[in-house]
Amino acid sequence: MLEVRNVTRVFGQKAAVDDISFTVEGPAFVGIIGRSGAGKSTFLRIMNRLTDASSGQILVEGRDILALRGSAQRQWQSDCAMIFQQFNLVPRMDVVSNVLHGILNRRSTVQTMFNLWSQADILRALSILDRLGIVEQAPKRAEALSGGQQQRVAIARALMQDPKIILADEPIASLDPMNAQVVMDTLKRINVEDGRMVIANLHTLDTARRYCDRVIGMRDGRIVFDGTPAQLSTGVARDIYGADASFNEAATSTAIPADHGPDDAYAAKMLA
């Protein structure tokens, strides 16, 4: 379904993404981990066509989406939703309007400028908000919501797009643990219930282990690990984060695979 072939992005002299290739079959939940500056965000931005690749191909159902231009590119963007670390909502518009932005590509400019959405569109936006448990917030301005609620509005906007692939760039990095769990659970539910592929950049190993079917580790723009969460050993984690033997797993809120202590502690804290 998704095939990434030798994608490279060079900024000045430095390759932010350096010749990466992988294939994903079917609607998997893929986590990309690595320290900051490893090229995780750049890769997701390339997939959504927010940033151009220097070379390489990304084939989605046989079509090279890096070669698209103009309206074909915007149509791809409308089929490939992006969720950002800082939510990237329009703060002064109400929640429903923000969700309706998901179908901007499929409606005329004049209609959207005057906010003339059809009743069917509005009801669909409200039902998505209801599914994510924030329908009571519908008439409020996006800026009035808490971080976790705003991220769920961003996910609702993504669902409004009815995308095949959802990209999430550090979706929980600016949320507290409680909201982080709600957001990750929501993403997982969408992945399982709707069968949409989710590719998420994550900065903590335990989140990757808990939610992903497959984990890709990046370091200095290259893929240094590609496997199941069970294969993520301490040694592999050291390799991904470029740390030596003194690597402290707690520094990335990591739990050693054999040791469920921190996970259990986390769960206990969640339930407390």
Partner: protein, 292 residues
């Protein structure tokens, strides 16, 4: 949802939100529609009124709009050989005009800085006096420059000083309002940091606010400089010297002097372009630092 606990309809909460939101949308659209109708009606009525008070008919006059400019340009084109010499001839008076504009922008801008900081909510030295400073700025903006200039010319005689005073006064009010709006949006955290080390009001403003607002203040200031070049040219018409006086003479003479008119407009256009380029450059410097 609290509602779900009360009855056998788990959907009721959602239905309520749906109807409430659709009502909200309907209400917003109705207000938007009413505003649009009012706007169109006012424009139509206003046009009728203006039409009835016009000496001629606007529609009939429209084809004639371009006749004067085309007369000027065609005559200037016939005598295009004269233009370089005319440009050189009028350069000294252009310099006088630009000087008037520069001095008045500088004086008005300095006054505007002080007035802006004194009348901004959250920054003012004496918060209770902010309305006083605001009304002061309103007053300087309300009086047309040309009225002040004529009054001062009557008292002081013709020349650049009345023009400088008139333009500077207006600039202080106009820039003061814009400066204060920029300062209102400045981040107050740096100011809090300076307060925590015991800084005085002047120190807080100079070191905490000015660095933040400088790029916007500068571009507003240079924009005002452009406007003031034009204003000082207009004041030349009423006897304060500069290129406006030359333009008045050339236009009064009518046919036969249109090459001069075009030369003067070219000089003014070049001046505005030069100021605009300068503004871009200075702003980039301030925003991105010396290496930009």
């Amino acid at each position: 949802m609290a509602d779900t606990a009360f009855g056998p309809h788990p959907d009721r909460g959602v239905r309520q939100v749906e109807t409430a939101y659709l009502d909200l949308v309907r209400r917003r659209r109705m207000y938007g529609g009413i505003l649009l109708i009012v706007f169109v009606a006012m424009m139509a009525a206003g046009f009728d009124l203006a039409q009835s008070r016009n000496a001629g008919r606007v529609i009939d006059g429209l084809p004639m709009v371009l006749s004067f400019p085309s007369e000027v340009i065609s005559e200037a084109w016939d005598k295009r050989g004269n233009i370089p010499a005319l440009l050189a001839e009028h350069l000294p008076s252009l310099i006088e005009t630009v000087n008037i504009a520069a001095v008045s922008t500088l004086l008005g801008g300095l006054a505007a800085m002080v007035l802006a900081l004194l009348s901004t909510r959250g920054l003012a030295r004496w918060p209770r006096l902010t309305p006083v400073f605001r009304r002061l700025m309103d007053a300087t903006r309300a009086i047309p420059e040309i009225v002040i200039a004529l009054m001062l010319i009557y008292i002081l005689g013709g020349g650049p000083v009345p023009a400088v005073a008139a333009i500077a006064l207006h600039t202080a009010g106009a820039l003061g309002k814009l400066f204060s709006e920029v300062a209102e949006n400045a981040d107050l955290k740096p100011v809090e940091g300076l307060t925590s080390v015991g800084a005085g009001w002047g120190q807080k403003m100079w070191l905490g606010i000015i660095p933040q607002v400088a790029p916007n203040w500068l571009s507003y200031g240079l924009m005002r400089f452009e406007i003031n070049v034009r204003a000082s040219a207009i004041l030349g018409f009423v006897g304060s010297g500069g290129i406006g006086y030359d333009l008045k003479i050339a236009m009064q003479w009518g046919q036969g002097r249109y090459d001069q008119v075009v030369a003067i407009f070219l000089l003014l256009f070049a001046t505005i372009v030069a100021i605009d380029r300068l503004s871009d450059h200075a702003r980039a410097r301030l925003v991105k630092g010396r290496n930009a």
